[in-house]
């Protein structure tokens, strides 16, 4: 391993789990998360914007076809699940799916490529996969939470929302319990969204790091380690897609629960 030398395994691992950050306490920023996710988003959505601007109803170009395919798959899912009318839900779902997929896909770049390149450029820490940062997953899920509340208010109004929170599921005489249930239920949504994505990606990244450590122990282990890394990467293609899809799908489901009266 190129990073071998004075570094121990423990140091190697914790180095890989360290974000590049500025500031102290709460008011600090993980620059690597912000920059990588922002760049990915800007490139992906910028490209989609350019494509969409000259999209025609004629024979689509390859790139347009590809984007249309993704977008219409997402749209079909939304149409199956979300029956109210809203101009927000499909774009929201597209954004989540594309962005989360791309950020997860950073996991497929071998663990040391970008951190090594960064350290040779003088940047000491770099955590490449933004979705392994709970700040990102919570940032997204809390945004989804607020959109969900806005959706509730838009479709049910303040009175409708209050009535639902107080009387469902046990009727009006048990309203404290109903309200408590509702609060727990709604708070559980963003937390589960964020932790599911974070946990999956963090664990996946961890496997890659451990395999790299193992291969670093001796050159004898390199062939087996490389095979296992390849296998895990292939399997991971499934996981990153699945996690992006799950995040998107659950968001759509929450939106439809917010928009419909049960």
């Amino acid at each position: 391993m190129a990073t071998a030398g004075p570094q121990t395994s423990g140091e190697y691992i914790s180095h890989h789990l360290q974000n590049l950050h500025v500031g102290e306490g709460f008011w600090s920023l993980h620059l690597d998360t912000l920059i990588v996710s922002g760049l990915l988003g800007l490139i992906a959505f910028g490209a989609m914007m350019l494509l969409a601007r000259k999209a025609s109803s004629g024979i689509p170009s390859g790139a347009q076809n590809c984007v249309e395919m993704i977008v219409s798959v997402v749209n079909d899912q939304v149409k199956d699940t979300f029956h109210a009318k809203s101009g927000l839900v499909t774009p929201l779902a597209i954004t989540i799916f594309v962005w989360v997929f791309l950020m997860n896909a950073m996991d497929l770049i071998p663990v040391d490529f970008l951190p090594l390149a960064a350290s040779s450029a003088g940047v000491e820490y770099l955590k490449v996969v933004p979705t392994t940062d709970p700040n990102l997953t919570f940032g997204m899920s809390i945004a989804v939470f607020f959109i969900m509340i806005a959706m509730n208010l838009k479709f049910k109004g303040v009175r409708g929302l209050l009535k639902e929170a107080l009387t469902v599921p046990f009727g009006k005489y048990l309203f404290p319990i109903n309200l408590l249930f509702r609060i727990i239920e709604d708070l559980a949504k963003p937390i589960s969204l964020a932790l599911r994505l974070f946990g999956n990606m963090y664990a996946g990244e961890m496997v890659f790091i451990l395999l790299a450590v193992w291969m670093g122990a001796s050159y004898w282990w390199v062939p087996a380690g490389a095979m296992l890394s390849l296998g895990w990467a292939l399997f991971h293609i499934l996981i990153i897609t699945l996690q992006a899809f799950v995040f998107m799908m659950l968001t759509v489901v929450y939106m439809s629960m917010a928009a419909e009266n049960h």
Binding site: L51, S57, P60, P130
Partner: protein, 157 residues
């Protein structure tokens, strides 16, 4: 876990990307896809209509052809009938004309005969009178003998 202000930054990125998608990515793509769907549907419908029209036209051509054939047959049979009639008519006409000419000729001949008879009768009468005069040597009063002359005349007729 290390929660900090990155969370807010990520939420901002997220909001920006949602806004971009909602404003500039989804609507034009959706419009393009819907338009294409409509164009394809219209094209298929137009193709189906064209095929149907072609079949209709072929059917109509067949019918017209059939009708024209029948008409032609009818015209031919009418013409045959008419020509037969014409021949017959001409025959009849010629026959009638011939008869007319013959009868006219007969009548004329008869008239000529009658006229000749008349002249002969007159001449015979006067010849007879002159003969009688010669014989009797005396003039016969034509008036007093008119009855006798008349009788003579009718006997000659």
């Amino acid at each position: 876990m290390n929660i900090n202000a990155t969370l807010l930054g990520q939420a901002l990125w997220f909001a920006l990307f949602i806004w971009l998608t909602m404003k500039y990515v989804w609507p034009p793509l959706q419009k393009a896809m819907q338009d294409r769907q409509k164009e394809i549907a219209d094209g298929l419908a137009a193709g189906e209509k064209g095929r149907q029209e072609l079949a209709d036209a072929a059917e109509k051509v067949n019918q017209e052809l059939q009708k024209t054939k029948e008409q032609a047959m009818e015209i031919i049979s009418q013409a045959e009938k008419r020509s037969g009639e014409l021949v017959e008519e001409a025959k009849n006409h010629a026959k009638a004309e011939g008869e007319r000419i013959v009868s006219a000729a007969k009548a004329e001949v008869e008239q000529e005969v009658n006229r000749a008879k008349e002249q002969l009768r007159v001449q015979v009468a006067s010849l007879a009178l002159a003969g009688a005069e010669q014989i009797l040597q005396k003039e016969i009063d034509a008036n007093s003998h008119a009855d006798m002359l008349k009788r003579l005349e009718s006997e000659l007729g």
